[in-house]
Amino acid sequence: MQRIIVLLFIISIGFSFAPVVAQTSSIFSALTENVDSVKKHRIGWGISVSEGMVTYSNDEGEVLFSMLYAQRISPTTEIELALHYTSIQKRSPDLSSTVSGMSLAWHFDVTFMFQPFSQFFQPLRLGVGPSLLLWDTMGIFPARYTPRTITSPIPTLPNGSGGINIAAFAMNTKAEWLAVQQPTFDIGIRAQVHLFANPFDGASLIPLVGGLGSGGVFLYLRF
């Protein structure tokens, strides 16, 4: 019940915060009259090949799915909320002797995107912002029996698996070339990097710094 109350409280803050900011943004809009208010919103999806710690760095170009919503705050800037998901599963050739594993990772982004250039480089967009990484990985291997000893009187057969679940703050940087720009949709070629450090939750068995780089195609609908 306490969690529900906290959740409702936070939702109410979010909704009550908006009108205040809306008034501020209306002043801002008056200052930036060129904002195309009709096409203020952008929804997009992307598919990328990715490489990094959460894909075991195995150079096979794992697939990263992205979904995002962005709201324009000026003619050349946007705030983007994005969610990226990658899932890999690797089977060892010989399950009886080696490790097979699975890795699932979610990246949550809040990115400030800006499109600062004109003329030839006008389609180039750049972005930077904070991220959160949630990563679950697990490997399986044959269970090994440990017999009874004098120091360990209870025999054991530990479960043949090991996993890491971590949460870490990250930073993201994005660079995108809008290859197609139409009034209602865009197609972009995007490269993005997520870097994280010092997981604040979960196992401490992984390196203190890691990351994920990806590049792919994004489709945007503007309205």
């Binding site: 009108p19 929804i43 899932s87 699932l104 949630l134 697990m138 399986i140 029996y145 309205f223």
Partner: protein, 247 residues
């Protein structure tokens, strides 16, 4: 800062964006929402659903996130493509007495599994009612494809060491299936609404398997190593909500 704090911050941002959109559309939303929908032809958005029962979550609760795009040729009909992601992990252990072997010597077990699913749906949604109050009730049906993967490990040993067992499972499979849903649209603004829905998926036998060809619903928890059998080859029933932009 805990992960939940970040989620709360994320939630505030989402709510802010939602409220901002609502604020922008209040003026145009003065016209009845149904009239607006007659002129709209596209929708897109995201959803979250909790699985009530499902083979991938081994009949326990799990969450899935989804995103969709839809076109609406007429108000009564909508065609949509949806992609849903979910994962489920199970870790634990138990000491129990297998009465078929001994009532005095316990068996100690450990188990863990990690499952992921990626489901793609192509669906047709109809809104057959025109009466006020019922016009937002919609029915959906379509075809699905599921990519599911699991790795799991299960081991046990009796204290007298007369009984040892372990089993590791690796499977990755693709299966076709179908989906059906009942949903109710709750208008929020002229370009934004929310759908509350109950949805079911059912799958055929996998047409492609890497690793072992096992049913995902097999529960490896001690004393529950049986199948529920609700779905012949797999499926799920979930409830959830979808946030939709109409444009």
């Amino acid at each position: 800062m805990r992960p939940t704090s970040f989620f709360h911050l994320f939630l505030v941002l989402v709510c802010y964006c939602t409220a901002d959109i609502y604020g922008q559309t209040t003026d145009s939303a003065q016209s009845p929402n149904t009239n607006t929908k007659n002129t709209l032809s596209q929708s897109a958005g995201w959803g979250i659903a909790a699985s009530i029962i499902g083979d991938a979550s081994q009949y326990q609760n799990s969450l899935s996130l989804s995103t969709f795009y839809a076109i609406r040729p007429i108000r009564e009909l909508e065609l949509s493509a949806t992609l849903s992601f979910s994962q489920f992990s199970l870790v634990g252990g138990q000491r129990f007495y297998n009465l078929n072997i001994s009532s005095t010597i316990p068996t100690i077990t450990e188990y863990s599994s990690l499952t992921s699913t990626l489901v793609g749906d192509i669906s047709c949604t109809v809104a057959p009612f025109t009466e006020s109050g019922w016009q937002n009730l919609r029915f959906q049906g379509g075809v699905s494809i599921r990519r599911a993967g699991r790795i799991s490990s299960y081991s046990g040993i009796s204290l007298d060491t007369t009984r040892l067992f372990s089993r590791e499972v690796y499977t990755k499979q693709l299966a076709f299936g179908g989906n059906a849903a009942i949903e109710y649209l709750v208008p929020i603004g002229s370009i934004l609404d929310m759908a509350v829905r109950i949805q079911g998926h059912i799958y055929a036998a996998p047409f492609w398997v890497e690793g072992e060809n096992v049913l995902l619903e097999y529960v490896t928890v001690p004393d529950k190593n049986f199948r529920y059998g609700l779905f012949p080859f797999g499926g799920a029933i979930s409830v959830g909500a979808v946030l939709r932009f109409n444009f």
